[in-house]
């Protein structure tokens, strides 16, 4: 039996580690004061990864709006960041919370948003019809689980984060990440099978 042959190697949040800490502090300080160039640098550093997790939680059709609100919020609160954790973890946590809060406020919209997402996010370049079908089924199955479960699975399966990093982003005890992932995977599998998916 082979272990995790398809999983990404687990990793902490470390994109911001590619920037020297003094340089990053300067960016944060200047961005807090409204320096557009430093704001852009921080955006470029964080945006792709954070956009993906926001999109996974709220759906494609609402992702741009939530992302924009997040960035505005991020720059408003950046002055409170104390470098006690990585900037990326801190920002991820804010983005996940903001996305989950958005879902709670727009619960009636969620279904509609995900339906639109289902229609628009189908892979642009499927290598086969089967792959496109599987992606569509996955999208539908993801609708059946909660926003937090989508965030959990995305961070683990797509971002390849370790349990410690996931716990830090979600603000939950590290010891509960495994059981929460187990529950999320179990529910996603059930939904996939109900939709006719076969491994």
């Amino acid at each position: 039996m082979q272990q995790s042959e398809s999983s990404n190697p687990q990793k902490p949040m470390q994109l911001t580690a590619s920037v020297p800490i003094d340089e990053l502090k300067k960016w944060v300080r200047n961005a807090t004061s409204g320096d557009r160039e430093c704001q852009k640098r921080i955006y470029e550093l964080l945006a792709p990864r954070i956009y993906r997790v926001i999109r996974k939680i709220v759906g494609v059709s609402d992702a741009d709006d939530v992302m924009q609100d997040f960035v505005i919020h991020l720059f408003a609160k950046l002055g409170q960041f104390r470098f006690e954790s990585s900037l990326e973890t801190w920002a991820h946590r804010m983005a996940v919370n903001q996305s989950l809060q958005y879902l709670r406020k727009n619960s009636r919209e969620e279904q509609r948003a995900l339906k639109v997402a289902q229609a628009t996010e189908m892979t642009k370049n499927p290598s086969s019809q089967n792959q496109a079908d599987d992606a569509e089924v996955l999208q539908l199955a993801m609708e059946q689980i909660s926003g937090e479960q989508r965030a959990l699975l995305h961070m683990k399966e797509v971002e390849g984060l370790g349990y410690e990093a996931i716990a830090s982003v979600l603000g939950i005890p590290e010891g509960t990440v495994g059981s929460r992932l187990n529950k999320a995977r179990k529910e996603l599998r059930t939904s996939l099978i109900q939709l006719g998916w076969e491994a």
Partner: protein
């Protein structure tokens, strides 16, 4: 005893390489002889693979261009939680000449525009005197509100009974302040509490709380919106003091008579529901 339940409980930890080596060996030994657990593990791994393959590409470059416009237009100005009032606060607010703090509450959010305008006029409350006297003569300021809005002084239990919730101020004023009194007021918009809190130097401020989903308006006075201790606050400056309104869960809090931004931050952070 390693059985199917034991394995299923650790399935995610196994896939995610979070098991100890001893547990991993036990897990794999069980799966070598258990078709269903082996199949389930393979299915979970296939789901992960499917998620990675289905992840659409991301282009956040065009989003930045739209964001720049919002950043240009946005009135939310970041502030440091430790800083004294910055010049920009007074630069923006110094033009506030007359004060008419309007505590507007739209009872019926579906009202048409004409009704809303009418309610504005009907519910406008001139807080000019409250703001002017909140710091030095808070009791006189409250007395006028009490007379106008059938107010009465109550203790914590009676206030909670009257309002249907206990105002956050009863959980304790921030360090350096003492709650002197709490009155309930039957405003046109809603019932609210008004508490006088005294500083060590003998000056005071007044904190108002009401629960409804109703915003506090500052009329046409120049105001700023900014983040204070994680909450979006609307702030006006008048008579050399700050009047601040912010929302905390289902509660709207308004403070009149703050000395500076540091004090606002302290209060916003301290008022836990």
């Amino acid at each position: 005893m390693v059985n199917c339940d034991w394995v299923e409980e650790r399935l995610s930890a196994y896939i995610d390489n979070e098991l100890s080596s001893q547990e991993r060996i036990a897990f794999e030994a069980h799966c070598d002889h258990c078709n269903s657990c082996r199949a389930l593990t393979a299915e979970y791994q296939a789901i992960g693979k499917l998620m990675r393959q289905s992840e659409a590409r991301v282009d956040t470059t065009s989003l930045w261009e739209r964001l720049e416009h919002r950043l240009d237009d946005n009135h939310v100005v970041p502030i440091s939680t430790k800083s004294q009032p910055k010049n920009w606060v007074y630069a923006i607010l110094a033009t506030a000449a007359s004060v008419a703090l309007i505590w507007f509450v739209a009872k019926n959010p579906t009202s048409n525009h004409g009704d809303v305008t009418h309610q504005h006029a009907a519910l406008a409350v001139d807080f000019q005197e409250v703001i002017r006297t909140a710091k030095s003569e808070p009791k006189a300021a409250i007395a006028k509100l009490v007379a106008k809005y059938q107010g009465k002084e109550l203790d914590a239990k009676a206030t909670a009974s009257y309002l249907g919730y206990e105002p956050a101020i009863f959980k304790g004023a921030p360090e350096g302040f003492t709650r002197v009194s709490t009155h309930v007021l039957n405003m046109p918009c809603c019932k609210c509490s008004a508490s006088i809190c005294e500083r060590k130097d003998g000056t005071s401020l007044i904190i108002f709380e009401h629960k409804d989903e109703q915003p506090v308006w500052f009329g046409d006075l120049p105001s700023i919106e900014t983040q204070c201790s994680g909450k979006t606050c609307k702030i006006i400056e008048a008579a050399g003091q700050l009047a601040v309104s912010w929302k905390s869960e289902d509660r709207q809090l308004t403070m009149i008579g703050a000395n500076d931004i540091s004090e606002v931050n302290q209060w916003v952070a301290s008022m836990k529901l």
